[in-house]
């Protein structure tokens, strides 16, 4: 009740000392659980909000100054927000974009033809947007975002809610288009499939701070302490003392799947091969999705890794002045 009369604002630091650089032509995944500060960072980079302290440069511009010259050179696509006119065919929105971004008519037509055929929506541009499926609409949103030929593309959950086919089509398109145009892309997504298909580098953010910044595969090396071992024994039985090697994930005699500490693998393998009659063996990484889910849920572990991760990330990045994005910011939010 007291809040009715005297409202107290608790400043929440949404992103805290987030610092990273993205090279021109790079495609980087921005990962983190809900509320980690991903969208806040994208909003900072697109000039929607001001940081309380810190600096960010996108294409050499300070985003929150919102220079028109800057706004003509980037695009922000949010999977949960529509930019297209709901009641009009997408081509009307595209035409408006042509005027807003001052794209030459011939160039506009060329881009439109290319994008509509790549995304397979050429026949749909004349239909009111409200009649399109979610997947078709998302593809139209992407076209609208790319018609002015942005050099930086910020994608916030571009495949959210899409079916597997639409999701894959969007992924394939982004991969092709990015490689072709060498645009710089920063992508947030909860679908690890998107990330694995598109990005070599990932930045993991949690509680507003960076946990990891580096190659995607390093996430497994750093955060996954286990590997998966698939064993097939001769005969129809499996030995009953396998638990001493690791956790039994699945057991369908004569096959068994074990989760084993990665540093003990050579020892375990030689031990197994020496003591049992094994027909087939395979060792693989755990799915990235599982590792990241575990990472997000284990707060304390993440916090202890934090300082270490940050210094590694900053130290490993080149700073040769060619970066498309350069961020160092803090953003508190009143809640």
């Amino acid at each position: 009740m007291a809040g009715l009369f005297r409202r107290e604002y608790n400043p929440v630091t949404a992103v805290d000392r987030v610092s990273f650089e993205v090279e021109t032509g790079e495609i980087v995944a921005f990962l983190g659980p809900n509320g980690a500060g991903k969208t806040t960072t994208l909003k900072l980079l697109s000039g929607l909000i001001f940081p309380s302290s810190g600096e960010a440069r996108v294409l050499g511009y300070t985003p929150w100054k919102r220079d028109n010259a800057f706004r003509r050179r980037f695009s922000l696509v949010m999977g949960q927000k529509n930019q297209l006119w709901w009641d009009l065919p997408a081509q009307e929105s595209f035409r408006l974009h042509r005027e807003i971004y001052r794209v030459e008519p011939a160039l506009f037509q060329r881009r439109l033809d290319e994008l509509t055929s790549l995304l397979e929506v050429r026949a749909l541009v004349g239909q009111p947007v409200r009649e399109l499926s979610l997947g078709e609409r998302m593809r139209m949103e992407l076209i609208a975002a790319l018609l002015h030929g942005p050099e930086v593309l910020l994608l916030d959950e571009p495949t959210i809610g899409l079916d597997v086919v639409s999701q894959r089509r969007v992924q394939e398109f982004l991969k092709y288009y990015q490689a072709e145009r060498k645009i710089t892309v920063l992508l947030t997504s909860h679908y690890m499939k998107d990330v694995e298909a598109l990005c070599k580098r990932a930045i993991i953010i949690n509680h507003g701070r960076i946990n990891h910044d580096g190659p995607l595969e390093d996430i497994l090396d750093r955060f996954s302490r286990h590997k998966i071992m698939d064993l097939q024994f001769a005969g129809t039985e499996v030995p009953n003392d396998l638990a001493r090697f690791g956790t039994i994930v699945e057991c369908q005699p004569p096959k068994v799947r074990l989760e084993v500490p990665r540093q003990n693998i050579p020892k375990i393998l030689s031990n197994l091969l020496a003591n049992y009659n094994i027909e087939d063996v395979g060792v693989q990484e755990r799915p990235l999705e599982d590792v990241i889910a575990e990472l997000f849920s284990s707060d304390s572990a993440a916090a202890s890794e934090n300082a270490n991760a940050e210094s590694t990330a900053q130290g490993s990045l080149p700073n040769d002045g060619t970066s498309a994005l350069d961020v160092e910011a803090e953003q508190p939010v009143d809640r």
Partner: protein
């Protein structure tokens, strides 16, 4: 540069007209139905005047029955220019749900865009409402004393165009309060109630006691309905008309600056709500 800017506005206007026409059946029907209360209003005033006196030339607060109907119809025309249904709520909603981001990430000015958007809506409205308006005025032609002189008529046209600007800026300013309060619907309701009375939409302002009308001289509300109607009813001399128009232009300038300032300050506060 200039040609590009004009082309952009033209494209916005054209796109908004097309959007408006997407549900043209509903829009035409709604526009026509809104003329029905006019009939009841005319009967209501007839009842009030006949109850007051049997003399058809009898004046109430300086208005004969004919004057009153003429005023009422002219105030309707004023409001057709100055009312901005949904503008303030629309702005506040875009701030609250985050769709405002499209104006901030694209090289476009939000208030300018909304202005041309509203212009398109008004043009479509006039295209449809002109026929019933002409019909109603033709039916009620006997309530009017004929066209005023050219200068007064020109002043009337100017007052209508300026009342469009004034109405737009006042509502936009209320909508921009959404940067601070997020939810402005009760504020908009209060604004609408105040406007209904203080603009002279319900009653001619000179019907009200001087204690109320005097402060109104220092507020912009009367320009939304009363002023253009009173101009057509010969209530101002040419000198008074020129002075009032100058004050009206002053209000437009002040509100324009207020809107721009509120927008700039609001953006600094903006937290980009809604994911």
């Amino acid at each position: 540069m200039m040609a590009q800017a004009v082309r952009l506005r033209w494209t916005i206007l054209k796109t908004c007209v097309e959007e408006r026409l997407a549900y043209r059946g509903d829009f035409v029907f709604g526009t026509l139905v809104r003329f029905l209360p006019t009939v009841t209003q005319i009967f209501l005033w007839a009842a009030i005047y006949s109850a007051a006196s049997a003399d058809p030339g009898r004046k109430l607060n300086g208005y004969t029955y004919r004057n009153m109907i003429a005023y009422y119809l002219l105030a309707l025309v004023s409001r057709a220019f100055s009312s901005m249904p949904g503008l303030a709520e629309g702005i506040a909603l875009e701030i609250r749900d985050g769709t405002i981001k499209k104006y901030l990430t694209q090289p476009i000015d939000m208030l300018g865009y909304l202005f041309w958007h509203r212009m398109a809506h008004k043009l479509v409205y006039y295209a449809i409402a002109t026929v019933p308006f002409v019909f109603v005025f033709w039916l009620c032609r006997d309530y009017f004393d004929g066209w005023p002189d050219g200068l007064t008529t020109a002043g009337w046209v100017a007052s209508l165009l300026l009342s469009f600007l004034l109405g737009f800026l006042m509502e936009a300013l209320i909508g921009l309060i959404g940067f601070w309060f997020l939810e402005v619907s009760s504020l908009v309701f209060i604004y609408m109630m105040i406007t209904f009375f203080l603009s002279g939409q319900m009653l001619p302002l000179d019907w009200l006691p001087a204690a109320i009308t005097r402060p109104l001289e220092f507020l912009p509300f009367k320009y939304l309905a009363y002023f253009p109607a009173a101009v057509m009813l010969h209530r101002y001399t040419h000198e008074q008309l020129a002075l009032e128009l100058a004050v009206l232009v002053g209000w437009v300038v002040v509100l324009f600056i207020a809107c721009r300032t509120a927008f700039a300050l609001g953006l600094r506060r903006y937290g980009a709500y809604g994911g």
